[in-house]
């Protein structure tokens, strides 16, 4: 009975339709937001910010993008990294080469990715499931090829463009905390947008297509239009995520950081985190980005304690085995992802201490 709903009344539809109708949820989220914006940047080490939190946030945004497409609209994609690459290069070119303002450059990156997404979305009317995934795979190769071979985009031999010093509205974004706040702000705003989108008309239309496309059509939802829209919005998010990764994390747009492996990793995030859940996108990104590092750190500790007994080779490989094992473990405990595990925990707390 820790997590209570009883005694909470809602007197207007607007209140009933709020993102967090429960006061307790609102408090929890409020506290998290205050800590994330007001405490972490001031107390966290550069390592925590630059090595862990920034990549987690940026990948969470990428995962939200893929979740919109796959978790909400039900369209499989293996080309997500390609959209991220387009966003990264688009933003870096706009910012570095043409000197456009930072946020506008992010927007440019997102829109460039969205444009590619629209093209990729076209076949989705006729091609479904795995077949669609394979066509999106083609995008990965085409985008990689384009960026490496078209001089104007990739800038020549290295296909790598360095990000100049970041300035936002006159303020240099040069320290760990500032980069983190830029990243956090972007991701939070886009998360709120995504939440609004998925809880209203467009989002419902996507979920309808995901659940039963035939019935969606009969309710007046034009499949092509909404599938395309899902691709466009999803790749916009991926594009901005790619821009964040290159601006705040790698400080360069480098095509080798947006390979098929990354698409699969982001797909892993939403599977582990939970399909069709924004919270799950965060949890999944944290799981995939942080857990291997945590295990690696734990292994360093094992190395210190054991002296030379556990060799570095064994430790490095144990990391993979443990990480793989944990993925298996969590998916067996909760195939629907961490977000569902969280919900089950809440249900459990709602009834606690009674079993049913």
């Amino acid at each position: 009975m820790i997590y209570r709903e009883a005694g909470i009344y809602r007197s207007s539809y607007a209140a009933d339709m709020a993102i967090f109708p429960l006061a307790l949820d609102r408090i929890v989220v409020g506290v998290v937001v205050v800590i994330a914006f007001g405490v972490i940047p001031f107390v966290a080490s550069g390592y925590l910010l630059k090595g862990l939190l920034i990549p987690t946030l940026a990948y969470a945004l990428a995962a939200i993008g893929l979740n919109i497409l796959t978790g909400y609209a039900g369209q499989l994609s293996l080309g997500h990294a390609a959209f991220m690459a387009v966003g990264a290069y688009g933003a870096v070119i706009a910012y570095g080469r043409y000197g456009w303002p930072l946020l506008l450059s992010f927007l440019v990156g997102g829109l460039a990715a969205a444009a590619v997404g629209a093209v990729v979305g076209l076949p989705s009317l006729r091609i479904k499931g795995f077949y669609l995934a394979v066509t999106t795979l083609a995008v990965q190769y085409i985008v990689e090829w384009g960026i490496t071979h078209v001089r104007w985009i990739g800038g020549g031999v290295y296909a790598t463009i360095d990000v100049p010093d970041i300035v936002l509205l006159g303020a240099p974004i040069d320290t760990g905390p500032r980069r983190y706040l830029l990243c956090l702000g972007t991701v939070v705003v886009l998360t709120v947008f995504a939440k609004n989108l998925v809880r209203t008309r467009v989002g419902r239309a996507w979920m309808a297509i995901r659940d039963r496309d035939v019935a969606a059509e009969i309710m007046g939802i034009g499949l092509l239009r909404y599938k395309m829209l899902a691709f466009v919005v999803s790749s916009f998010y991926a594009g901005v995520a790619g821009a964040l990764i290159s601006f705040c994390f790698y400080q360069a747009a480098n095509i080798e950081e947006y390979t098929l492996t990354i698409s699969i990793r982001v797909l892993g995030m939403i599977i582990i985190g939970g399909m069709g859940s924004l919270l799950g996108s965060y949890l999944g990104a944290a799981f995939v980005v942080l857990l291997p590092i945590a295990i690696s750190n734990a292994m360093v500790a094992v190395g210190r304690v054991s002296g030379g007994l556990v060799t570095t080779d064994v430790r490095a490989n144990a990391e993979l085995v443990i990480f793989g094992g944990l993925i298996l473990f969590f998916l067996i405990v909760e195939p629907l992802g961490l977000a569902r595990l969280w919900k089950t925990l809440k249900d459990y707390l709602r009834l606690w201490p009674f079993p049913y």
Binding site: M17, R201, A208, A215, M219, V233
Partner: protein
């Protein structure tokens, strides 16, 4: 009486099998017309052509005089045609409320940009349509199910929610494919009540496919009978019930409508 839905000489074949051949049917405004016939007689195919899933090989379908023979399903929905499915086609991962709100889709306007900004246009629109949806919720007496995920609901309630989703569209023509299938007596009675209310009080034209002859004969204004893709009879329930061809093809020799009479076995 000008027909609201008129079907003229409609034929459709699938891979050489003639599913529907040369069927005519006129349904007037506010009428409740049932289409009956054996499994595989072409009833659902006919419904699918009206709602735009299949386009007929021959023939013409018109809604309020407007030709909809080759119009896409989602545009037909926007013209005010809603339907339910034989095997329930609810959006199972979504709540009852969201399913019903989806019924309002064609009546709403918010696009991506209005939606992401939410507080403003989109919220006002959501609230406005939520009110209409609440009317449907009250009408179907499913107030306690608003937040339930439809996939977890029992079958009969799923059927009810599916009807609600169709009704939420405020259709002028409602197509129901076996709404009573798999229901017990009590649920059938409720469902019959809802269909009659939608038809009589809300003035919605209804085309109904149903196997339960008790229901069909009690609530229909007219009944059309299909067999092997062709219309073999049409008339008031009493006329149809007495038609020897209908008895042979569909109803069987025994008198229908009183299935409870214990048979001596």
């Amino acid at each position: 009486m000008s027909a609201q839905l008129s079907i003229h000489g409609v034929s459709k074949s699938f891979g050489g099998v003639q599913a529907v051949s040369g069927v005519d049917l006129e349904v007037g405004p506010d009428e409740l017309v049932s289409v009956i016939g054996p499994n595989g007689a072409g009833k659902t195919s006919l419904l699918n052509m009206v709602s735009g899933f299949y386009h007929p090989d021959r023939g013409r379908i018109a809604l309020d005089g407007q030709d909809i023979t080759r119009v896409a399903p989602y545009r037909i929905a926007a013209l005010g045609v809603a339907r339910t499915f034989q095997n329930i086609a609810l959006f199972k991962g979504m709540t009852v409320l969201d399913n019903l709100m989806l019924g309002r889709h064609v009546r709403m306007r918010s696009g991506v940009l209005a939606s992401i900004a939410y507080w403003g246009l989109a919220q006002r629109e959501e609230v406005r349509h939520r009110r209409r949806v609440e009317d449907v919720i009250d009408f179907l007496r499913i107030q306690d199910l608003r937040r339930r995920v439809t996939g977890s609901l029992p079958y009969g309630l799923q059927k009810r929610v599916e009807l609600g989703r169709a009704v939420a569209l405020e259709p002028k023509l409602l197509l129901l494919d076996e709404p009573m299938g798999g229901m017990n007596q009590e649920e059938k009675e409720d469902m019959a009540r809802f269909i009659l209310d939608v038809n009589e009080e809300w003035g919605t034209t209804v085309v109904l496919i149903e196997h339960d002859m008790g229901v069909v004969m009690d609530i229909s204004d007219r009944v059309a009978v299909l067999d092997m893709g062709q219309k073999i009879a049409e008339g008031t329930p009493d006329e149809v019930r007495a038609d020897p061809r209908v008895i042979k093809a569909y109803l069987g020799e025994k008198k229908v409508g009183h299935p409870a009479r214990p048979a001596a076995r």
